[in-house]
Assembly symmetry: C3
Homo-oligomer: 395 residues x 3
Amino acid sequence: MDTGTAYGKKPGTYRKELAEVSAGTPMGELLRRYWHPIGMISSLDSTPRKVKILGEELIAFRDGSGKPGLVHPRCAHRGTTLYYGKVEERGIRCCYHGWLWDVQGHCLEQPCEADGGARSRGNVRQPWYPLEERYGLVFAYLGPPEKKPVLPRYDCLEELALGEFIEADDSSIGGGGPPLVPCNWLQHWENVVDPFHVPILHGSFSGAQFVAQMGAMPKVRFDVTPRGVKVESLRPAEGGKVHRRVTEVVMPTLRVVPNPRVAKYGKVESIGWVLPIDDTNFRIYVAGRVTEKGELGRFRSKMAGKFWWELSEEEHRQYPGDYEAQTGQGPITWHSDEHLSGSDGGVARLRRFLEQQLKIVADGGDPACVAFSEKDAYVRLEAGQRLEDAADRAA
Amino acid sequence: MDTGTAYGKKPGTYRKELAEVSAGTPMGELLRRYWHPIGMISSLDSTPRKVKILGEELIAFRDGSGKPGLVHPRCAHRGTTLYYGKVEERGIRCCYHGWLWDVQGHCLEQPCEADGGARSRGNVRQPWYPLEERYGLVFAYLGPPEKKPVLPRYDCLEELALGEFIEADDSSIGGGGPPLVPCNWLQHWENVVDPFHVPILHGSFSGAQFVAQMGAMPKVRFDVTPRGVKVESLRPAEGGKVHRRVTEVVMPTLRVVPNPRVAKYGKVESIGWVLPIDDTNFRIYVAGRVTEKGELGRFRSKMAGKFWWELSEEEHRQYPGDYEAQTGQGPITWHSDEHLSGSDGGVARLRRFLEQQLKIVADGGDPACVAFSEKDAYVRLEAGQRLEDAADRAA
Amino acid sequence: MDTGTAYGKKPGTYRKELAEVSAGTPMGELLRRYWHPIGMISSLDSTPRKVKILGEELIAFRDGSGKPGLVHPRCAHRGTTLYYGKVEERGIRCCYHGWLWDVQGHCLEQPCEADGGARSRGNVRQPWYPLEERYGLVFAYLGPPEKKPVLPRYDCLEELALGEFIEADDSSIGGGGPPLVPCNWLQHWENVVDPFHVPILHGSFSGAQFVAQMGAMPKVRFDVTPRGVKVESLRPAEGGKVHRRVTEVVMPTLRVVPNPRVAKYGKVESIGWVLPIDDTNFRIYVAGRVTEKGELGRFRSKMAGKFWWELSEEEHRQYPGDYEAQTGQGPITWHSDEHLSGSDGGVARLRRFLEQQLKIVADGGDPACVAFSEKDAYVRLEAGQRLEDAADRAA
């Protein structure tokens, strides 16, 4: 008799507490304790722009005095979208009855009311979120006001060599596909601590997508850090040396991944923030140290000399990459159907780390990497890659 | 600490009893006590036509003897759509087994049954609705048969001057956009009793969409009438005169709005019936007094010299109009999130008026504007505009 | 007062136990007791192919040794779709971490694990289904392993005359439309035992779609058989003869219909398997005796000389066919709203037959046409057409 058939297989399920990011969900509340990028500094101007982050639809703009604003899309008066609003010196004005809101949601004018609303406008507030600008990106805080942390600084983006400067990108470099990736963000984040897929997916499957060296099956060590999870991969290199590569995921959504093309050794060059747009879509914002404009964009991987969006369906099947592997797990992967193995040690550790962070928040505490002073908010990263003598390593 | 942020904001909700129009809902049953336009007289012919009204999908046609018909789309025999039926002299025949239905749903033939169904066809009826034709439009009654009112006549469409005649239109003139508007019909109807949006949305925002005079902030008086709600707007006019403009909403869905281009003074020229297609879509049928063919179509507003469908997305943002403001409230606006002010007096009165009508129907009574005799069904309207001496007004 | 209007009509409902085909539903479990075609033998190769049957999404392929495989689409390791897998000599390899699965779901390699998974790979199985190949088609069994029947043989496809051979087709010949038909499969199957629609839908409505003879209203006899339901239609033919036509539906989904173009007399030429893709989509696989290649494709009906997909919307309305009549009943017809008549005797008998089969399965028995030996799995069909003397018939 046949064994192991799919007959009677239970429908798959996913772990809601890990996958869902909306307000009020466990992971949604954990992620709301941090600043998240919502766009490039250069993308905010006087044209109202729709953004969606952690399942919330919002309108971003920059007022005439240069202040960035992020507000609820429905005007607090009668609900018309501020997408059709007009940005002025002091804020954004709704098209329907002209109520004018500043970047903190204060109502400055109600032109159809007596005295322009002098007496009534103090009673209403447009829901808003605070923003800060750094590293070429605009960061928003969507969490409880009394828990607002300091926007962190990262050593790899602060300590620049002569001639280096910071460049930003909003096109999901590192995602392996187009700017918008239609699956749960955690499928991507887990991939960062999964070094074993590299020689398979990016090696034997598709031909070497990165440098040949990366095609070797590495020796790997996984560690939980105070910031997240760290992966150390050792591979043989030329001259009897060892290529030591450290990758990190750092709370809340940072992918800290040395350039897989191994362009240079040393401290990691860039940070990617994985932005959960909602439960089933994400994008990646990147900031990195460069020495010439456009350098960051050249990190974007190609298959057979083409960008992802230039490939035919047949070529996607011939050269699958991170996009295919991760969206191929479905909009939200079914945790119930997984069979984690030894090589999934990073994934297992990351999930346990996240479970701990969820518990800390549920218990009223402050999760990892939340800091309330500039000093505590300075983050030193271990990610990077270097060549070592085999002897050093043994020591 | 930040105040007024969107963190912790409750999800918005809408008032189901006002917004939902399907059979069995409070508003659905109120609206089903009236005749509603379903198309132009000229649009009904021997080609079966899909129509949707108050959430019900139906098939309209005109049989070979000229009688208009409106029937349930699924043949009462085996459920095949009558969209593929053939219209004959006496009714519509299903394509599958040839059952022939007259405009009142009687089964006239069952060709696959013995004797053409002579004995069996009396046991089955195709669900249908009564129709009447007037003012160039076809009206349907979807309510309880024992409560079927007389189709009303309106003075502004009955009392014609020499050379005037009635013209009809089905392209949603007055909606500010395309024929089909994808939001709840009440968002449009409330707009009719909201004169304050005119100088903002149609004035300072988009440049004067109507005559310059309409750009002034009016003095407004709101009144509940036996038919609905009335708005009187006073604006200064040339020669020290006063421009008095009266707009009405009349049960069940009538928008009685003088031409905002102020083409002529006197009684309102036209009536618009807002047809709720379902909870989140509506269209507008109009009938009006004209002196030349095509005059009605010239009421349609333009932005920057272009029709709505000729504008780019950028131009829609530069020149938002009624379509943008109303669909911008969402498919159904969130009443829970509104902050009505003094200038929303018309909206507030209209909702209270509707609440009263819902209660009348729930209590078994007849709501406003339902009449069971031709005499009682003759409606005199107050809407119109005229120039007055300021002195008249003060008196 | 109006009678019979649609006011107050209850929403339609369908019989879930007849219409739904997913695992665990009554009809789903009945259908899972049989082999179903999933594709042409010629369509399975080293490119993984998405198939959907009985509501289940699966991946079909043929390994390098020629063995056909049908597996769950999500790799049992981390859930990545095997659509992006690579087919090798011994099975299919997932793109993400390279786990290799054979056609029975055994894990042959786990390249990222120690020793290639020598110790761990025995603990995991990729859910799979057994396949068999016959008549140019690949058949799958999705049911309980302990109930797997023998794949049946049918006399009309086994007993070939000199020069005849079997040809297969996957383009839904007999469906009257495109390969994928968007409605419940039973709407099509019921149509097979409904001979009365032929002179209406395929005769007076659209002009004779088949031979003129088929346009006559037949004398009909319906019978339940051990295999399903049989329809005998008698029509007058040339020379005072009688055209006797027998059509059958046979468990599980077989349409056994003599060519309506009456190309030849004798035993039915072909069998169609109606494949329920899910509750609201089906397609048809056909295998038939032919004497030249491509003969089967010429069975496909045309309207006004055109294939279905060549017709405009206006032409579909002018020449409706089986596709229009069946999809016109909706995704799943509303059984609550039907009025079955005498001419629907085949439909009524078929439903009763299916109810009995559902009961047999619910009671733990084996439904009709399930056989566990080659001998019992040889099916003799009655379908076909012949010319008879009227005298023969009277006898």
